[in-house]
């Protein structure tokens, strides 16, 4: 009987943030791939495209004209999934047919006037402007809404329908599933250990080192022990921030640097504009803002789909949808690759 080697032998790992297990099958990296190939993101976008509704000065299909913006630009999505005022569904008494009200708003935030740039190619100052705009929007929306989700879908592979650098902010009147579950798990840990779970986790990862990708006094980026996507990362505040609105100027500056470093590494990994969905999670707001939130730590999660190259992605399909997430390489293997990549020099600049 052999000794257990995490890089050779399949096993499961627990995500303490949601109680879900991930199946890790590192030996599977050896299989050939003959399925769908993603179109690699091209670098031939024009700086300005008069038909792109996110460009400065362009008139959008609904007739609104964008200002000639020079930095960031925020507007309400022309086709929002959440509207502010809609009639509420009647209360139902059947446990099998339960509905509930949902109101909210969906905003789009352009990061930069130029279509042919992305966060890793922007300057620290420009990224800082983006973070400051996130905080401004968050502060406005947090008054009314229980949950404010800032997120970026980057790349066609992640359903992004417009290549102009932008993110979205959806605010909602309810606490969405993932947050409701996370809140329970964080609370349970806090009740036992009297410390926020992610504070403890960050401290332990700094000592263990093997999953650390980027580290500075304010922020830690790791491939979490329980990652499901191949190169998933977790960006954790090390200063006790609970919401993005808690950040001080120096933490914002370091966040800009951290985002640039992480996304540069991502682009350098497969020498492409690396697709992902990312977003921030912190303590709830709105009518939940008054609740105890000592169990929360501000963090961002990056879910990138690529597995082997710019064109071969991981599919979360049959077994994953019906049973549970499965990954090939281990979190430590992914972290080692990201760690050794250059985070300062982008491959397009060499």
């Amino acid at each position: 009987s052999k000794v257990f080697e995490p890089t050779d032998h399949q096993h499961r790992r627990l995500n303490p943030l949601n109680g879900q297990w991930v199946l890790v099958s590192p030996h599977r990296m050896k299989r050939p791939w003959s399925g769908q190939q993603e179109a690699a993101q091209k670098n031939d976008l024009p700086e300005f495209d008069p038909t792109n509704p996110l460009c400065p000065g362009v008139t959008r299909p609904n007739g609104a004209k964008n200002p000639d913006y020079k930095s960031t630009f925020v507007f309400t999505n022309d086709f929002p999934a959440l509207l502010e005022n809609v009639p509420e569904p009647p209360p139902g008494d059947d446990p099998l047919f339960q509905s509930a009200s949902a109101s909210g708003t969906c905003k789009v935030m352009c990061f930069h006037p130029k279509s042919n740039t992305t966060l890793p190619l922007m300057s620290i100052k420009e990224i800082r402007d983006v973070i400051n705009e996130w905080i401004k929007e968050f502060n406005q929306l947090k008054v009314k809404y229980t949950w404010v989700q800032i997120f970026e879908n980057k790349g066609a592979a992640m359903g992004c329908s417009n290549p102009h650098p932008h993110c979205q902010i959806w605010a909602c009147s309810f606490l969405p599933n993932e947050l409701a579950i996370k809140d329970i798990h964080l609370k349970k840990y806090y009740e036992t250990y009297r410390r926020p779970l992610l504070d403890d986790y960050a401290k332990k990862e700094v000592l263990k080192k093997e999953r650390v990708v980027v580290e500075n006094p304010d922020w830690l980026v790791v491939v979490p022990y329980w990652a499901s996507w191949p190169f998933e990362t977790l960006l954790i505040s090390r200063t006790g921030a609970k919401r993005i609105s808690d950040l001080k100027a120096s933490e914002i500056e370091n966040l800009a640097k951290t985002v640039k470093e992480l996304t540069t590494k991502y682009d350098n990994l497969f020498q492409c504009s690396f697709p992902y969905s990312m977003g921030f999670h912190g303590a709830p707001t709105g009518e939940m803002a008054g609740n105890v939130d000592s169990h929360w730590t501000l963090h961002a999660i990056y879910y990138p789909p690529l597995l082997r190259s710019a064109t071969v992605r991981k599919f979360m399909v049959g077994f994953e949808l019906l049973c549970q997430a499965q990954r090939d390489l281990t979190a430590e293997q992914a972290a080692a690759r990201l760690k050794e990549l250059d985070g300062n020099k982008h491959y397009l600049h060499s």
Copy 2:
């Protein structure tokens, strides 16, 4: 103030099988789409391809030669995510770094010797052979394994790496997340109502009619009230079967007819070989086979990604990964479209 209209006004719906809410935003169907287009599945596959490792008589990359099979053919995946014998991880005492053992096996089942066919194009007799083979495999694997997942990833959009008609069977030594959660929810309902949740649900849907897609004495197909994927369906046993191994000859015959009818409707919807991931869920097996299973009902779930056409899919990305599932058209709208489509005549045959 207006009256609530489910087809106009956003709301949330509860999935009683897992306790998760889905955001329904029907007004969003009006938005234009300029993002990624899927490659429509072509109909020009050859019947036989000597380089395709799933074809009869072909030697696979690992040196094994396929028999000259005439119906179904099952073999162990050459690159399985689960192996039968691997060393177990050592027990860990840190709640933030928990791992557990996982053993199992992964099989591939070819549905038919010809590469250029799919379930909707196969005869009832040929589909029956597939179901009988599913049951045979299930009966073998259920002795040793806690969970036997029969599933089909169909189409490149669902990560299917080989167009030859086939499915997979993954058996595992543990109860995967989705099933662990479902087991709890089904049990809780049973404890309150003394009837299996999905039996009650099927009976109510038959009376309500508005979400029914296919109906016969043994099986019911509905777009579930809580569907997250645009044209998601739930195929429920109406005879009290708890596992696929419980099916009698007449139920197998009707299942073959139901599968053919549903998948024909799917193909006719956008006139393409409709991609999906599907799989069966029933009472657990192996060392859990002795547990009380009165709360279970055998069912299959179809998760198809397409939203508007053969080339425009729904992406479950930023908001969905970070918060909760979101859908555009309502379950009733999807069901009405599927119901009215021809389930007997495939578009390629007209």
